[in-house]
């Protein structure tokens, strides 16, 4: 049972402001959900995610699985009759969930962390490294072994990490972006 009142407009307004999307305008037609490739794997369908935002149910929406199963394919955004960029709202929600530490345990968040960590260290992604760390972090090191073997056989996995000259610049981007976002929302 969800208790609705006493939340005010704050959360919905913040999400609207951050995303530039008129969240309250959504009239729950469900077209986003109907076209969503991942909706059947979500706990809340995309239109419900928006509805939770409208109702100010911040904890529910930030800890839901749906925002992490989202594939960022923009189908919802392309089709929304209210011209709400739903995918953009998903971005905002994921970033907010991270700031509140509610992303822990979400596989997609872990994947993003590992991916970006590789980028931070080398300036570019090192696929082999990402694959290996993913396997270790999820406790299923051999899960992708068949694919990895195939890739190695076709020399489609670079063994040595890439390295760019401007790697410091890239690290600076990570640092500064994190600091700025922290400042903006902290």
């Amino acid at each position: 049972m969800l208790v609705l009142s006493g939340r005010g407009q704050e959360f919905a307004n913040r999400v609207s402001l951050e995303s530039g999307q008129p969240v309250q305008q959504c009239y729950q037609c469900g077209k986003c959900t109907a076209g969503c490739p991942a909706a059947s794997f979500m706990d809340y369908a995309p239109h419900q995610v928006i509805h939770l935002v409208q109702l100010g149910l911040e904890e529910v929406v930030l800890s839901c699985r749906a925002i992490w199963v989202c594939t960022s394919c923009y189908t919802c955004t392309a089709r929304c009759p209210c011209r709400i960029e739903v995918a953009r709202i998903m971005d905002i929600l994921r970033a907010r969930a991270r700031r509140k530490g509610l992303h822990r345990g979400q596989r997609a968040a872990l994947f993003a962390d590992l991916f970006l960590d590789s980028v931070r260290r080398h300036g570019r992604l090192h696929e082999l490294e990402l694959g290996a760390r993913w396997g270790l972090s999820t406790g299923q090191p051999w899960r992708e072994a068949d694919l990895a073997a195939g890739l190695v056989a076709k020399r489609k996995l670079r063994l040595r990490p890439p390295r760019i000259k401007g790697v410091e610049e890239v690290r600076r981007i990570f640092r500064e972006a994190a600091r700025l976002e922290e400042g903006e929302h902290g």
């Binding site: 199963v69 971005d91 997609a108 980028v119 489609k156 890439p162």
Partner: protein, 287 residues
């Protein structure tokens, strides 16, 4: 000779190696000079914008600034890279505050004044005439399901040009070299994109539907313009078959590979041996 700044993207040296090979070979044949951006960095892809708005903008912005310094328009063959570059460029251009902020983040002046093209757009810009003239082995009798995926056409407010529900650019290119393309409903259905590792079940269910549709339309192969789509459709096809008890053997080719074949390029040069689903029979039918 047309010169472009070229942004290969991180998988160009790895899992998308054959796309890179084909792109280079076909570009040379078409008279496109692809000048690789020196010291380019990862665009951040989906994890980038999923994690932070500014991070998602600044990583591609560095590349935009580098291209701007070269004074060349920019070609990004990977649909995801292309999408991130265009998105960053558009968003920053609309917001003067962001422009200033980018300067601080990059530690250098930000200019994003050069055009960003996908590989499809760059090739299409060459013109049908010239393509036709270069075609030595027309793809006659080959039925192709052109698969655009998401990031080449969406969101329409950012990625402009082709119709987001029924794009035609890729179809036009391949028909121009003699192939038959199918009018199928799954041109822009998402393959699950970046969820391949975190939520593979999403990808497998999507890939299955796309393959099913291609088979229904009697396609001989699927053509893609994105290494992420390709990885999902080609590398994970065997897993789809295992999971759903199906028996798909649908070759998935990059569109530049098909163009290269039509131009008479050597299949090896186009990396056609690097796919998981064998392409040899298809290649034989063309050659």
């Amino acid at each position: 000779m047309v010169r472009y700044a070229y942004y290969p993207g991180c998988v160009a040296e790895g899992s998308g190696r054959e796309y890179e090979m084909a792109n280079r070979a076909v570009a040379a044949r078409l008279g496109l000079e692809l000048v690789e951006i020196e010291d380019w960095n990862c665009c951040g892809a989906t994890p980038g914008h999923n994690t932070g708005h500014l991070l998602g903008l600044a990583l591609p912005a560095r590349n935009l600034a580098l291209a701007s310094g070269m004074g060349l328009d920019l070609v990004a063959p990977c649909a995801a890279c292309y999408n991130r570059l265009v998105t960053a460029q558009r968003e920053i251009a609309c917001d003067p505050e962001l422009q200033v902020l980018m300067g601080r983040l990059l530690g250098r002046d930000y200019h994003g004044d050069r055009r960003v093209l996908s590989m499809v757009e760059a090739v299409a810009a060459v013109g049908a005439e010239r393509m036709k003239a270069l075609t030595v082995r027309p793809l006659e009798g080959i039925t192709v399901a052109c698969y655009y995926g998401c990031l080449l056409v969406r969101p329409p407010a950012v990625i402009r040009g082709d119709d987001p529900e029924d794009p035609r650019l890729l179809d036009d290119l391949l028909r121009g070299v003699g192939a038959t393309t199918v009018d199928w409903a799954h041109k822009t259905e998402c393959c699950g994109a970046a969820q391949a590792l975190p939520h593979e079940e999403v990808v497998l269910s999507r890939v299955r539907r796309i393959l099913e549709a291609a088979v229904t339309f009697r396609a001989d192969c699927i053509a893609t313009a994105c290494p992420l789509c390709h990885a999902n459709l080609d590398q994970r096809q065997a897993r789809v078959n295992r999971r759903f008890g199906t028996d798909y053997r649908m070759p998935v080719l990059y569109f530049t590979q098909l163009l290269g074949l039509a131009f008479g390029l050597n299949p090896g040069e186009l990396g056609l041996g690097l796919h998981f689903v064998p392409t040899a029979e298809l290649v034989r039918r063309i050659a």
